[in-house]
């Protein structure tokens, strides 16, 4: 019955739940979904992570290449992030070139990431003006059930935290590059940005914030994806995006930051314990 009701009166169905202070999947408004992190599950990538936030599943694979730094920034290496929303992950996406949404997500991610300054690109430079690492971080969404950016950032950070760079020696005379894959140095990661998404639902006069919305909730709140994403790194805001949906009131902002802060602490703990786990299995 519920299913049919949902189909016939989608708005009313959703409204009925919210007005009873509960979300259709049984969560409270500020309750987030379970997070599962698994690192190094892909053998072909230098580092990788699979992250599940509820049903949202993303995979991040990191690969390394060597390149010459840009002439204008000879001391910087490269870190390239890319988000792929394959048609596999949702019926909304069609095969073909990346959709606008995918590009927005991708751009937002790299924006948040560079703002957080958790990776110093100077660390990726081997010989200034001559040789630098290119770190490719490809994130593939396998199942999009809302709050995609949150999951992507977790996957990205979990991967980077496990990444170690092989030692490279560069002979300036012969320009010969020697890579010693046995001697590795872990990549320095300063802090760990964590994003928290919210959907804003306008229930009569009230603005309701739904933490970590699912795809269904995002849709019901009217939009392609979450409306509001806050990202914190070590207590500093490094990303604050609001688009679409209802307007936001000032009092919401404070609430949002509080929730985001709590969630950031939790996520960092999850990632760290996962990496620790993986290491102990390794040995």
């Amino acid at each position: 019955m519920a299913e049919i009701y949902k189909l016939i009166h989608p708005v009313k169905y959703f409204n009925d739940y919210i007005s009873r202070d509960i979300r259709p999947d049984g969560r409270k408004f500020h309750e987030q979904r379970n997070i599962k992190v698994n690192v190094n599950s892909l053998k072909t990538a230098e580092a990788s992570a699979v992250v599940k936030c509820g049903n949202t599943t993303v995979v991040c694979g990191v690969q390394l290449e060597l390149a010459t730094p840009k002439a204008e920034e000879p001391e910087l290496g490269f870190l390239v992030t890319n988000v792929e929303l394959t048609p596999l992950c949702s019926s909304k996406y069609r095969p073909g070139p990346p959709s606008d949404n995918a590009q927005v997500q991708s751009y937002m991610l790299s924006d948040i990431f560079s703002n957080s300054k958790c990776i110093d690109l100077k660390d990726l430079c081997i010989v200034p003006d001559k040789l630098a690492w290119v770190v490719y971080c490809d994130i593939v969404c396998l199942d999009n059930d809302g709050s995609l950016v949150d999951a992507c950032i977790i996957a990205l950070m979990a991967s980077l935290k496990t990444l170690s760079l092989p030692t490279v020696t560069y002979d300036p005379e012969t320009e010969e590059i020697k890579v010693d894959p046995d001697v590795r140095t872990p990549l320095k990661v300063d802090g760990c940005p964590v994003a928290t998404s919210f959907a804003v639902y306008k229930l009569t006069e009230r603005n309701i914030l739904l933490t970590d919305p699912s795809a269904y909730e995002e849709e019901m709140c009217g939009g392609l994806g979450a409306h509001f994403t806050v990202c914190l790194n070590k207590g500093l805001i490094c990303g604050n995006h609001k688009f679409g949906g209802s307007h936001l009131l000032m009092e919401n902002q404070e609430e949002v930051l509080k929730i985001a802060k709590e969630r950031a602490n939790l996520v960092v703990k999850v990632i760290d314990s996962c990496i620790k786990n993986e290491k102990s299995i390794d040995k």
Binding site: K43, A45, Q63, L64, E65, P166, T174, D182
Partner: protein, 975 residues
Amino acid sequence: MWTTKTFLTKTKRGNILKIVREHYLRDDLLCGSAACNICPHKDDEFVLASNPESICALFEYPHYLVLDTNVVLHQMDVLEEDALTNVIILQTVLEEVKHQNTAIFQRLLEIIGNKKRKFYSFVNEHHKDTYIERGPGEKPNDRNDRAIRKAASWYASHLSANNVGGQFPKIVLLTDDEGNRKIAQEEGIVCCSVKDYIENVNGFVGLIDKLSKNVIPESCSKDALYPAHLTPTQIHSGIRNGKLFQGTFHASRDNFLEGTVSVNGYEKPILLQGHIGINRAVDGDMVAVEIFPEEEWRKPSDIVLEDKADDPGDLLEEEAVLLNTAKPADNNKDEITPTGKVVGIIRRKWRQYCGILMPSKFPGATRHLFTPAEKRIPRVRIETRQSDILAAQRILVALDSWPRNSRYPLGHFVRALGPIGDKDAENEVILLEHDVPHARFSEAVLACLPPNDWTIPEEEIKKRVDLRSICICSVDPPGCTDIDDALHARPIEGTTADGLVKYEVGVHIADVTYFVRPNTALDKEAAARSTTVYLVDKRIDMVPDLLSSNLCSLRGGEERLAFSCVWEIDENANVLSTKFHKSVIKSAAAMTYEEAQIAIDDSARQDQIASSLRVLNALAKKLKRKRLDNGALLLASPEIRFQVDSETHDPIEVQAKKIVDTNSMVEEFMLLANVSVAEKLAAEYPQCALLRRHPAPPPANFTTFLKAAMQQGFEIDVSTNKSFSASLDKAQIPDRPFFNTLLRIMATRCMQQAVYFSSGTKMQDEFYHYGLACPIYTHFTSPIRRYADVIVHRLLAACIGEDVTHASLLDTKQADSICDNLNYRHRQAQYAGRASVALNTHILFKNRVEIEAAVVLSVKRNALQVLIPKYGLEGPLYLPSDKFTYNEEEHFQICNGVVLKTFDELTVRLSLDSTNLQHRKLVFQLVEPHIPGFSYVPEQAMDVDAKTEEKKEEKVEAKKRKEARDTKVKKKAKK
């Protein structure tokens, strides 16, 4: 079916590419021991005996041996002895050996394959209990050592489990790595060095001689005689930054303290002099050299210097005395050669060397010197307790190492070849030194043969064209038992449009591929041998005797399988049509060239054989004419034949080969068949047809030759083969009939080698055969003695649908590698043949001296190369530089107004110099023109002449008597 296995991934990181490999561990791998009652062995899977008898006094209980990699790599000669049995070869070891030395790897596989030796290869890398992972920071070598120890201790516990109270074999780990041994002992593994083990082996005399004296050459810095070699990394960086050069070291034949290395960037080879300059490089090694500054460059010494006969101990002589190191005078700047020294060895190219032992002067000593037959190889120090026996033998020795503190390289005795001077031993030396595979055919090969009483099955006859009723005959040299070609010709009905008579001509080639099926042991052996090698008194068959001399040989009066190429030819020798088919033939007669010639010439004979021979002969002449008109070269090489005593197999007479018309008759049709087949194959298989090409010689090859011809007043045009051929024809001196032949002999030496190749590897215009002047050529007519022909037969059979193709036949890469081997083996076979001729010449001249007419082939700085036309022998006639002056420009030698130049006719005295047992040589001495103080003056010139005349007469008689039991070896004219 799929079995669940523990699963592990191994990661290998190369560059920044991450490579991931799966590695399955199994629980169904067997330990191979008959004492084991855990593994589910089937009856035929036991390799190791349940109660192996110990032969070593150190371990008196039954045990299996586990070998470390270094043992296999260095002690192969010990392992090949039948002494050690019940040995476990781990996969770890097998793979390390495979990577480091393929030759050793092959030998190891051979031993493992021999059931009697009880060598079991255990796949420890995939066994769930013996696989280990490389620890972080662990070197691959250490990891492998650990894997070997792990497997050894696993075996020990595996065998003891479930064998409560019973007798079970223990495990002994043999390793020469001290570190490994130490850890093994700590882990409770019984281990031992090879030396200790072998020295305590009972009952195998001589085993200890085979121990390799492998020491790490650079570690012996105490009392070092030689400077240390650079490490591989140093060499690598030195070469990279241009300070060092790499190249193959060629030792001088004449001076043991001199050698050269050809490197990139220098036109002349780099000269290396002295012990220090050569620094332990052995001929053939890939070395790194440092080149001295230009003011230290030297010229090659022109003295002959041999190492001292006795062992001076580990000292280096004062080299300044031995070497002509004086700075060369300024006038001959041309001769100054870039000079350098060896600073490191990149790769050793050591093989086993034949030679003789020079026993130590001290009785009872075990260290002796060995002199290799190859002059360019230094003497080797070996240890043996059998020096008394070995002193009179030809022996085979392997090089092991050359430490810094040893004057000579260290080696060990491998085996004895036979008494010095013994024909068999000397032949063995020739075969070994030329890398001719000559072992007896293995059981596996012989198992591929049909039974001795094999006859053609009825159904096979039905499949083929039956030519048994046609009068076919073969023409070969006398004594030939491997007859691979036969011919027929008969007029056919009708005439051509121009009214010419038509003939059907067939060439029938032994159908070897019927017996030699692809990928059988027989096929592989034949492919490895590639060719039958003809020594003067011995033939090393490519395929076993049953095939080569019987079932394949197209003997007279017997039904044989053949592959036929049949043409319709008009009387002007134009080919009208060609067809190929397999057939059954019955040769009417197997004739010699002379018999055939007699049949043709004897007009009384009107039988079928004679008339078809006449047709063939007439057509052949026309074919030849056409070929020559096309520009084919008639080349010559002095070929000699020995008459061999039927009992002692010693040569009793030597003479230049006689060529009659019928020789060229057979040759013409063989050429025609080869060309026809080549055209067919190239059209059908553009990628993998096996062809033969002969590249045009580069003009530079002709310089000396043209100059010499010019001196005789002939201008030879070498721009094309046609003009070359024509001008050779014109170059005749009426009163010197031999002159033209001589010219052709010399022209032959300007040529390049013809080679086999796969059509997929070359451009169409490179297929050209220069010598035969035909655009495409192959070998089809001698499958019994050449493997190339076997491949060609298979290809041809496949394209006419008479046989199936198989994958490897059509693979260009495969064909290319076959060609490489064919070319190598053919070259080696030729060299071996020549060495055999030299050997027999020496035997022939052992007790005789002759004075003969000779011609000068070329003029060298210190000698004339002379040819004795009568015997086809050639050699150097040395001219001392104090008497003769060499004119470099015009290539002649002058002494007291007597000028000696190319093509001059001389009289020389021939004798044998046996002072050096290994290098006996013919000595040529000048008799005429007479140069006082130099020419040999026969004491009673007339007398000697008379004597030789007498002798000759005697010999003619002897020859006649022996003709009946002549055992001459067939040697076909080189095409």
